[in-house]
């Protein structure tokens, strides 16, 4: 278990999944309602993200190949909740997205993680509704995730308090808030985000500071500690090209190296940093 909060962001690997051409096309089924996006730009953004994860953060990058029948496959953060040696394979709200979990499951299994499945047909859980703070889990009860889904998170990660946070509007919890450090919650300034943060503040036993960013999307950042314990942590966040207003506030986060990336095109498909990659450690307890 280690020191509280120390588990946050520890990682050795990152998993991403390529952008299929179907994401740029006129869509039916799953992706209906998503405005057409510039496929080339999306793929470029995705490529840059992978590059940053590998080169800037020094992570082992695994890239799953795109699958045309899974246009939202790149949003693999919805398909699994990984902590320590355990990966909970989710049951995404959208039935059309459920096949996405297969490839991810295989990859995580190959990395030696303990795989936990959701067998309950009544549970829905999108991975990006789960926020791990290093000390506890918050699960957003959103349009995408229901109580039963949250309960399975609690069943899977038993050491930790798992609290539910009502999320209003179309967002996932991670689209509203994230961790800016082991003891710092960052959140957007929208009403939904602020409400979620207040709920979390009421539910927690632990000390956190909070930092409010002008843009909700900016709060969807990843606090990562690759490499050896004690190495300086990074914050992978949306850069100035995407969200100029939030940059100044992000500078206030102490003791992290900021690594900006852009995903404004992928964002049109509902992607955020937490959904575009899964980070994990294959040596969670060393």
């Amino acid at each position: 278990m280690g020191t509280p909060g120390e588990g946050l962001g520890r990682c050795s690997h990152a998993l991403i999944r390529g952008v299929p051409e179907s994401l740029g096309k006129e869509r039916e089924g799953v992706a209906v309602g998503i405005p057409p996006l510039d496929l080339a730009k999306a793929q470029r953004e995705h490529g840059v993200l992978g590059g940053k994860l590998r080169q800037r953060l020094g992570l082992q990058l695994l890239e799953l190949p795109p699958e045309e029948q899974l246009p939202l496959g790149p949003l693999l953060g919805d398909t699994a909740v990984v902590h320590g040696d355990t990966a909970l394979i989710t049951r995404p709200w959208s039935p059309a997205r459920r096949p996405e979990v297969d490839g991810v499951r295989r990859a995580l299994q190959d990395l030696g993680l303990r795989i936990v499945e959701i067998k309950d047909e009544n549970a829905t859980l999108d991975g990006t509704d789960v926020l791990f703070t290093g000390r506890e889990f918050f699960v957003g009860l959103s349009k995408w995730t229901n109580h039963r889904g949250a309960e399975i998170v609690a069943d899977t990660f038993r050491d930790f308090a798992v609290s539910t946070v009502p999320v209003s509007g179309p967002s996932h919890l991670r689209g509203l808030c994230g961790m800016g450090g082991p003891r710092t919650v960052v959140a957007g300034s929208s009403e939904a985000a602020q409400k979620a943060v207040r709920a979390m503040a009421a539910l927690t036993d632990h000390p956190y500071a909070s930092l409010t960013l002008p843009d909700d999307a900016a709060a969807d950042c990843l606090f990562l500690r690759p490499g050896l314990p004690g190495a300086s942590p990074f914050l992978l966040h949306r850069g100035g090209g995407d969200l100029p207003n939030s940059q100044e506030v992000l500078q206030k986060l102490p003791d992290v190296t900021l690594v900006p990336v852009s995903c404004s095109e992928l964002e049109k498909a509902g992607a955020g940093l937490s959904s575009l990659c899964l980070v994990l450690s294959t040596r969670p307890h060393s």
Partner: protein, 884 residues
């Protein structure tokens, strides 16, 4: 178990300790002399008991009471025994028991062994508890308690201050020794032996599934347990699956055992004590550590669990935490029949307190939960226990936690001066009896271990019984050794020189608390809360600050010091009466239990008069919950004055302020939409947010001395009224009116009127709360303001009243009911107009109603009840307060 019944000689020696005491103590204990010997005389050794039976001391009753008393004495710190003792002595002769009759008690200890002892039939719980602790050689005993099962086979805590017989009624004299208050920071326990028992409890909690944890944690905790029990890994001794005879998890797998052995090999050189510290350091982080769960239903009839812990009350649905109420958030805890209520301090965005109700399976379980809450609150949050209510006409239960608080027990254990006692860690052996092993010598049908793996509740309890049985045997088989240690009871707190010592100890404690991680909480709290705090309200900031300091945090420590210097008398005098007021408790409970009581109010009122009361709500909080530790304002000020460190800490964080400037800016504007939004969200009744943002915030004008006087008398009345409205029963109204008389302070006449306003609007979540309570209490939001507006200035200028001297006080009570698809909000205002006889009361009344309408434009006035009291005689006035 670890201890043998041999060293009576030792015990005797300890007994002889008290007599050569400084005069002051002697004087105090003159009549106590037999009593002082009591704990040892009664100690659970057969020999000791036979002593009693021989009747060397004629009055066992007396002895027993003295013991009880004595326990109280050192709870109460110094200098008080001379007051308490005489009253005791007077009391005891009347109660002289006819004959000494004893009963055999069976106590299941934490290692599942059974301890048998004899106690006097009318002995109090404390007697037995002390015997058990003595048997266990345990000094830091305040974290522990005895439980017994009631006819519904529910676990109940044995109240040390009451007769055992009355508590267990017809049940068997079987008890279990368990941890009652899980210390949030076990490393702060003074003795290894205490930690050892805590470990045993936690291991049992883990095995029964009460303390859930992951595979990794099972392995980690298991490996420390192995190290503590078996010592260093020894390649010769530890062959094969040497840990398989120990139990670590509800579903123990080979894989787990292998992992445990792997880890065990790496702990070479770690002492058992260290291993236990590691064990506890990891266990305490588990989310369910020290959470006492109670089944309940929420207002919609959904099954939930209420978890009582050191920091407050947690609400779970299934495994998920869906709400949390830290102690500082809770103003009042009460129960009525099978309903359990908590009254919540309004949040930053709410103006009203809210009362949340939960349905428990039955009356007994509601009461049990209520008691556990009171005890946890007192133990972890208060500096010293609040005195039980005294007097004859106390509403509700007189139950209070009478033991030491965590602060007191830490202080006391800092004074433990004995060499670390030797004890044998023998827990594992019990497992051999219950668990089947692959190829080990203790063979049992494999199905048993299968059962463990399935692990249903029933099987677990059976398993427990197995342990008990197995252990019982082994207990008699093993003649274990206990190194005789001097048992020095902590009564030396009463000695004058120890006052100094204690003072030093409290200073040390203060220092320690400052160093301990808890103090960070203050910091944290500011961080979380800063953005929500309204800068304009100084009163709201102090409670808030308080909010994040759940346990023995610095503020509290300081208050303790403060208490000792100044206001002891306030807390203590009622204590001696406590034991006498026991009988009848049960009956009165049927009425309604609540934490606030008149006596307390008065005491607190006294205190308030020296405090600048800047907001009604904060005063209210104190009145209702009588949280002695909650005098935020003063306590904190004192603290920052006396402790520059904290101050610095504080200013540091303030300096950090600009880091999150937006948060501060944002706070206010969001407020309104927030509260609306909150009411729109389907909150399932658990978190009722006020949906009446148009209410004006209640303000209290700065009060002059004279208004303070009025106020003092009004307060109890107001509380009474509140109770009336919550209960909505007719008979209470009488109480209200009589109360009304007592408030007549200025002189001639009083007019009271009640305006009920009713508003209906549909609520979206609207499933209806009828399932839970037929009555209207499902979700009650309540405000009460007491704002004596002085003189004509306000009234006259605003409404043209012609009063010469007129003061009004308004009590507003809001009840929100969710019925079917509708939510009904009922606001009851009690306006008290006090003034000279020539005041035009009718006009004042009309104005008051008008004002009420103005305040709530979308509400309907449905009822106005007017009571008029004129010119009561001074004698009557004087009498009333006692009566009501």
């Amino acid at each position: 178990m670890t201890m043998e019944t041999g060293p009576d000689a030792e015990v005797k020696k300890a007994q002889e300790d008290p007599p050569p005491q400084p005069p002051q103590q002697l004087e105090a204990s003159a009549s106590q002399a037999p009593a002082t010997a009591a704990p040892h005389g009664l100690a659970g050794h057969p020999e000791a008991n036979s002593n009693e039976k021989q009747g060397t001391q004629p009055d066992p009753r007396h002895t027993e009471q003295g013991l009880d008393m004595e326990e109280k004495d050192y709870v109460e710190t110094d200098g008080l025994s001379d007051r308490t003792t005489p009253s005791k002595t007077q009391k005891s002769p009347q109660k002289i028991a006819k004959k000494f009759k004893s009963a055999i008690c069976h106590v299941t200890l934490l290692d599942a062994s059974e301890y048998e002892c004899e106690v006097e039939k009318h002995g109090r719980g404390q007697v037995l508890f002390d015997m058990v602790c003595e048997h266990l050689n345990l000094l830091e005993k305040d974290y522990f308690g005895l439980t017994f099962c009631d006819p519904d086979s529910q676990k109940n805590w044995l109240d040390p201050s009451k007769e055992i017989k009355k508590q267990i009624r017809s049940g068997p004299w079987n008890f279990a020794f368990t941890v009652k208050f899980y210390p949030p920071d076990p490393a702060q326990l003074t003795e290894d032996i205490t930690r050892y028992y805590l470990c045993l409890q936690l291991r049992a909690d883990i095995i029964t599934g009460r303390l859930p944890c992951s595979f990794v944690t099972h392995a980690l905790l298991g490996s420390y347990a192995v190290q503590a029990e078996l010592g260093d890994f020894d390649a010769e001794e530890h062959v094969g699956n040497y840990v398989s005879e120990l139990r670590f998890a509800p579903n123990q797998t080979k894989e787990l055992e292998e992992r445990i052995m792997e880890l065990h090999k790496t702990y070479r050189g770690m002492t058992p004590g260290e291993a236990e510290i590691h064990f506890l350091e990891n266990a305490k982080k588990l989310s369910m550590y020290g959470v006492d769960l109670h089944h309940a239903k929420d207002s919609e009839g959904i099954d939930i669990m209420l978890g009582v812990c050191a920091n407050g009350l947690l609400i779970y649905r299934d495994r998920l935490r869906i709400n949390r109420f830290a102690w500082p958030k809770i103003l009042k805890i009460s129960y009525k029949r099978s309903n359990f209520y908590i009254k919540i301090r309004p949040g930053e965005y709410e103006q009203f307190e809210s009362t949340i109700g939960f349905k428990l399976p039955n009356h007994r379980s509601a009461k049990r939960l209520w008691k556990v809450c009171i005890e946890h609150h007192t133990f972890f949050r208060l500096v010293s226990p609040e005195p039980p209510p005294k007097g004859f006409l106390v509403m509700g239960s007189k139950f209070r936690y009478s033991g030491r608080t965590q602060a007191q027990t830490r202080q006391a254990s800092a004074l433990i001066d004995r060499p670390a006692p030797f004890f044998e860690r023998s827990s594992s052996k019990r497992y051999t009896m219950s668990r089947s092993l692959d190829g080990a010598e203790f063979s049992r049908p494999a199905s048993v271990s299968e059962n463990h793996d399935v692990g249903s509740e029933a099987e677990k309890s059976e398993e427990d019984r197995d342990y008990g049985g197995g252990r019982r045997k082994s207990e008699t088989e093993e003649g274990e050794l206990r190194t005789p240690t001097k048992i020095k009871e902590l009564k030396f707190l009463d000695k004058p020189e120890d006052v100094l010592l204690k003072h030093q100890a409290s200073i040390n404690e203060l220092k320690r608390t400052l160093k301990e991680p808890n103090s960070k909480l203050i910091h944290r709290d500011r961080d979380w809360e800063r953005e929500r705090r309204l800068p304009s309200s100084p009163a709201s900031s102090s409670p808030k600050h308080e909010e994040g300091t759940p346990k023995g945090t610095p503020e509290k420590t300081n208050e303790r010091a403060g208490l000792r210097e100044g206001s002891e008398e306030k807390v203590k005098p009622p204590r001696p009466k406590a034991p006498e007021s026991d009988p009848g408790d049960e009956d009165q409970d049927q009425e309604r239990d609540s934490v606030f009581l008149k006596d307390n109010h008065l005491a607190i009122e006294r205190k308030c008069s020296s405090i600048t009361v800047s907001s009604t709500s904060s005063l209210e909080a104190e009145v209702d919950f009588t949280v002695i530790g909650d005098y935020h304002g003063t306590a904190f000020e004192d603290f920052s004055r006396s402790l520059p460190e904290l101050d610095r800490d504080r200013s540091d964080s303030e300096a950090e302020g600009p880091v999150f400037p937006r948060d501060l800016d944002k706070a206010a504007p969001i407020q309104d939409e927030e509260s609306k939004a909150a009411s729109e969200a389907p909150e399932r009744g658990i978190c009722p947010t006020s949906d009446m943002p148009h209410f004006e915030p209640v303000k209290t004008e700065t009060m002059t001395v004279s208004s303070m006087a009025i106020r003092k008398k009004i307060e109890p009345e107001a509380v009474l009224q509140a109770r009336v409205s919550t209960m909505e029963t007719a008979q209470q109204v009488d109480g209200g009116t009589t109360g009304g008389k007592e408030m007549i302070t200025t002189s001639h006449s009083v007019t009271m009127e009640t305006t009920c306003t009713t508003m209906e609007n549909s609520l979206k979540s609207g499933k209806g709360a009828a399932v839970m309570i037929p009555g209207p209490q499902t979700v009650a939001t309540e405000i009460r303001s007491l704002s004596p507006i002085i003189g004509k200035d306000v009234l006259a200028s605003a409404y043209g009243a012609t009063a010469e001297t007129l003061s009004t006080s308004t009590t507003t009570h809001v009840t929100k009911t969710v019925k079917g698809g509708f939510s009904e909000t009922r606001i009851e205002k009690r306006i008290i107009i006090t003034g000279d006889e020539d005041v035009d009361q009718d006009q004042a009344l009309a104005l008051a109603i008008k004002e009420a309408k103005l305040q709530h434009p979308d509400m309907l006035v449905t009822k106005a009840v007017v009571y008029r009291e004129t010119d009561p005689s001074p004698e009557e006035r004087d009498k009333k307060p006692q009566e009501s």
